[in-house]
Structure formats: structure tokens, C-alpha cells
């Protein structure tokens, strides 16, 4: 009796192993992308259309643009969807990337508590950052070398302020955009976000979003997203053909229309601009 039970147990375990199938599809594309395209739900909405139309299955890992570029450089992925144009151009110049195709944009905004302790509402971006610094109000930075973080560092530089790395009021989360917005909310601080993720945050809060957009509209706050293919010379194993297909599809009228129609609480998150 004893042994019979044990045998049944072991047999069950073996069946479980056998049920584990190895998924090896040839038409499979691996992409590294930013937290904003994933967190907002854009990819969940867009990619099934791509898979249906092309028969290519696409998997993605979402991380900061800095790490996404690193994954591309190491050939751990096949294609990139990122948003840091200066870093992308260096990436191509260094021989890691091949084509760069601009597909959509939105803009960065500074959000903060409604009572606006540093009094930045309606100011231009450089003035706003100077006010935050002089009043020492909590500012949440991604601190993860993502596209948003790269832009934020540039903005401090443009305002003539060295990046307040060690200041007590300057909080570096090292996490994704939505997570950083939560930190800003909990600490009553300011943060910089792309508009798409901000709208996602608003929709999650169901109209009770305590953080409001305070600074917007500067041309430097433009946030461009691009698809990058990898240079086959650097990554012969990367699926270059499929990557090109994805890049072409993202720029196609069909995909561009889908991006245009992607809305949360009635608001557009991304504006297509493929040429």
C-alpha cells in the first residue's frame, strides 16, 4: 500500500515534467522596450494586431531605455522600441544599431501636488527646476538611466544646475515610471513623467489623482519613440529580417491608426508620427 502511493506520487511528478513542452518557434521576435509603452497597456493593445497580420510572435521585456540599449548591444534581443534620441544616435554610430525609425511621440510633463509648494505652476521648465531646488521640495527621479531619466538630467543641465545627486530632497527610485509616480504621490513630491504614463495613472485613480500637471508645453519636453534594428554585423544571431518587418509595420498606416486610436479615459496617450 505504502509503495503504491509513493509510486503514484512519483508517476504524477513525471507526468508533470512530460507536460512541460519546449517552445521553439522560429518566427519569434524578442524586443526590449521602455516601461512607458508596457505600463500604459499600449503593447498589449497593439501587438496582437501585429502577430495576426504578420504571423510573427513578439515577446517583450520592459526596462529603462539605458538597459534596453545595453541588451541590444549584447545581442540579447532582436529589436528595440525606445525613447532617447541622442543615446539612440550614438548607439547607431557605435555600430550596434542599423535603422532608426521614429514611430510616435508624446511629451514630458512635471507633475506634483495640487497645492504646489514650490510654486512652479505655469513656469517654464528651467525656472520650475530652480524653484524646486531653492525651496528644497521633494523631487522624485527615476535614477535608472531610462529615457525619462536621461531627459531629466538634460533638463537640470539646461537650467544651469548640476544634477542634485546627493541632495536630501532629490529621491532616486531606480524603478519604472508608474512606480515612481506612486512614490511622488506618497511623498507629496514632484516628478517628471511622459504624458502617456500620467494618463494611465489618472485612469487607475478613477478621477482621484492627487498629482496634477504643473509644467508642460516646452519644445524641449517632446518625447520621441523610435524602433531600432540591430546591426547584423554586431549581432549575426539577431533576427534582423523580422525586426525590419516589425519596424515597417509600426510605421504602416494601419499601425499608426491603431496608435492614434489608443485612449484611456478619453485621452490620447501617443501621437503617431512615422514618416
Amino acid at each position: 500500500m505504502n509503495k503504491k502511493r509513493l509510486f503514484i506520487g512519483i508517476a504524477t511528478i513525471f507526468l508533470m515534467i512530460m507536460a512541460i513542452s519546449v517552445q521553439a518557434k522560429s518566427k519569434e521576435l524578442m524586443m526590449a522596450t521602455t516601461t512607458s509603452t508596457d505600463n500604459t497597456g499600449l503593447l498589449d493593445y497593439l501587438i496582437p494586431h501585429f502577430e495576426k497580420e504578420t504571423g510573427i510572435s513578439l515577446k517583450w521585456t520592459s526596462t529603462g531605455t539605458g538597459k534596453a540599449l545595453k541588451l541590444g548591444q549584447n545581442c540579447d534581443v532582436d529589436v528595440l522600441l525606445v525613447h532617447a534620441p541622442p543615446a539612440e544616435k550614438i548607439f547607431i554610430a557605435n555600430g550596434y544599431g542599423k535603422e532608426r525609425r521614429e514611430v510616435m511621440y508624446n511629451d514630458f510633463v512635471i507633475i506634483g501636488p495640487e497645492n504646489d509648494p514650490a510654486d512652479i505652476k505655469g513656469k517654464n521648465i528651467s525656472e520650475a527646476l530652480k524653484m524646486i531646488k531653492s525651496k528644497k521640495v521633494v523631487f522624485i527621479s527615476r535614477g535608472d538611466d531610462s529615457g525619462t531619466n536621461k531627459k531629466e538630467k538634460l533638463l537640470w543641465k539646461n537650467a544651469g544646475i548640476s544634477q542634485p545627486d546627493k541632495e536630501k530632497w532629490y529621491v532616486q527610485t531606480g524603478q519604472g515610471m508608474l512606480a515612481s509616480i506612486s512614490v511622488a504621490e506618497q511623498r507629496d513630491g514632484y516628478t517628471m513623467t511622459d504624458r502617456g504614463t500620467y494618463i494611465k495613472y489618472q485612469s487607475q485613480k478613477g478621477g482621484n489623482a492627487t498629482l496634477k500637471v504643473l509644467v508642460e508645453g516646452d519644445s524641449i519636453l517632446l518625447n520621441q519613440y523610435s524602433v531600432l534594428t540591430l546591426d547584423p554585423k554586431n549581432c549575426p544571431n539577431a533576427k534582423y529580417d523580422l525586426a525590419l518587418k516589425f519596424s515597417g509595420w509600426m510605421a504602416s498606416p494601419n499601425a499608426q491608426n491603431l496608435i492614434k486610436d489608443f485612449r484611456l479615459i478619453g485621452k490620447k496617450l501617443f501621437i503617431p508620427n512615422a514618416k
Binding site: 509513493l6 506520487g9 520592459s62 549584447n74 512606480a179 495613472y201
Partner: protein, 228 residues
């Protein structure tokens, strides 16, 4: 406070409605932790038995090293495995990054010292009289070892369950090596981390309830086996 209650309600909804993303995460978790547990038992059982059964020089030091390995942080294992299986790493050709196999390698490294240490302790504690009795009955060496193994079968079960519990709940390796890819390498723990990051606490709690339920079922079925 509402989100805590909402989390429990949502957990039941997710499971009953057969929500696709939840069930793929559950399946990925079960696959990868079952493989890691079996591999670590396969490797750790003989090692632990040898260490526990035989006396040899340097045994004490080996035990110290083994006990230290019990405290290996998952993020460090994740980093090490990542470095090895990245395309630029020594095993890059195999293309294991962002796969369940990659996660299983890391989790096996995590669970191996646990199985080895527990097995060694149990084997060390086998009644010395048992061996003497067997020898006096004229049993051969192979017979003695087989009887000892049979004697510690429940201890081995404990080692396996402990290893399973550890890999089932770990998040560092799954996140770094697996990449948290939806429908593929997203496990319950990485899904919880993601939902929390997104501020979706109710969804996170729901997945937590699912994970605890799985752990409970596993333990329940093993204690059933033990009673027989």
C-alpha cells in the same frame, strides 16, 4: 484599506474566470519550480548523502561552506546566471536568457545547497544501531545504504518540500534572468512585483493569494503521502 478586501475578491474572480494572464503565470511558476526542485533533489540528494554518511577529512569545513551557501542571495545568483547566459557570456550561444530554462538554472543553484544540507543532516542522524544491526545480520554495503535511504525517505521529502517552497517564492532570479515577459516568463512573483510597481495593489494581493494557495496544496498533498 479597500484595496485589501478588493484583492481577496479579485483573487477568487481571477481563478474562477480562468483569466489567461493569471493562468499562464501560474503555469510558468509551476513548470519552472518543479523542474528546479527535481534537478536540485537529483544533484543534492547524492551529495548530501555522501557528506552525511561518510566521515572524511575536512567534513566540518565543507559543512560550513554548505551552510554559507544557504544564504546565497537570489539577486546575486540572478546576476551570475545572467552574466553567463547573456549572448556576450560564455554560454551565450545557447540563447537561454529570457527563457524558463534560464530561470530553472538559477533556481537549481538556489535550491541545491538546501537539499544537500538537509539531506546531510538527516543522514548524519540515522541511528548508529541500525547500521550495526544490519552488519550483524550480514547485510552487504549496498544493502545497508539502500536501507538507510529508505529509513530517511520522509526527511528527503522534507528537503524537497523546503526546496520547492524556496524556488516557488523567489523573485530575484525570475526577474533578472526571465525578464518578466508576459505569457512566457512572467511568474506569479514577478507579476506581483509588476502590479505593485504599477500601483495595482488589489491585483498584487490577488496573485499573492494564488501563490499561497499553490504552496498550501503542495504541502497538503505531500503530508497526505507521508501519512500513507
Amino acid at each position: 484599506m479597500d484595496f485589501i478586501v478588493a484583492g481577496f475578491i479579485k483573487a477568487i474572480e481571477l481563478l474562477i474566470s480562468g483569466d489567461y494572464s493569471t493562468w499562464t503565470a501560474v503555469l510558468a511558476t509551476l513548470k519552472v519550480s518543479t523542474i528546479s526542485m527535481l534537478l536540485s533533489v537529483g544533484a543534492g540528494l547524492p551529495c548530501g548523502f555522501l557528506i552525511g554518511y561518510f566521515d572524511f577529512k575536512g567534513k566540518k569545513h565543507l559543512r560550513t561552506i554548505l551552510d554559507t551557501l544557504l544564504a546565497l542571495p537570489t539577486v546575486f545568483i540572478g546576476l551570475a546566471v545572467y552574466a553567463f547566459i547573456s549572448r556576450q557570456g560564455p554560454l551565450g550561444e545557447l540563447g537561454l536568457l529570457f527563457t524558463l530554462t534560464g530561470i530553472a538554472i538559477g533556481q537549481t543553484i538556489l535550491a541545491f545547497p538546501i537539499v544537500t544540507a538537509i539531506t546531510a543532516s538527516i543522514v548524519e542522524n540515522i541511528d548508529q544501531d541500525l547500521k550495526l544491526t544490519l552488519v550483524s545480520l550480514g547485510a552487504g554495503k549496498r544493502n545497508i545504504i539502500a536501507t538507510c535511504l529508505w529509513e530517511v525517505r520522509y526527511g528527503i521529502l522534507t528537503a524537497a518540500v523546503t526546496a520547492y517552497g524556496r524556488v516557488l517564492t523567489e523573485v530575484g532570479i525570475s526577474m533578472m534572468v526571465g525578464g518578466n515577459i508576459k505569457y512566457h516568463t512572467r511568474t506569479i512573483t514577478t507579476a506581483i512585483a509588476l502590479e505593485t510597481n504599477k500601483g495595482m495593489f488589489a491585483d498584487g494581493i490577488a496573485l499573492g493569494v494564488v501563490l499561497i494557495t499553490i504552496a498550501f496544496i503542495v504541502n497538503l498533498s505531500l503530508s497526505f503521502l507521508r501519512k500513507q
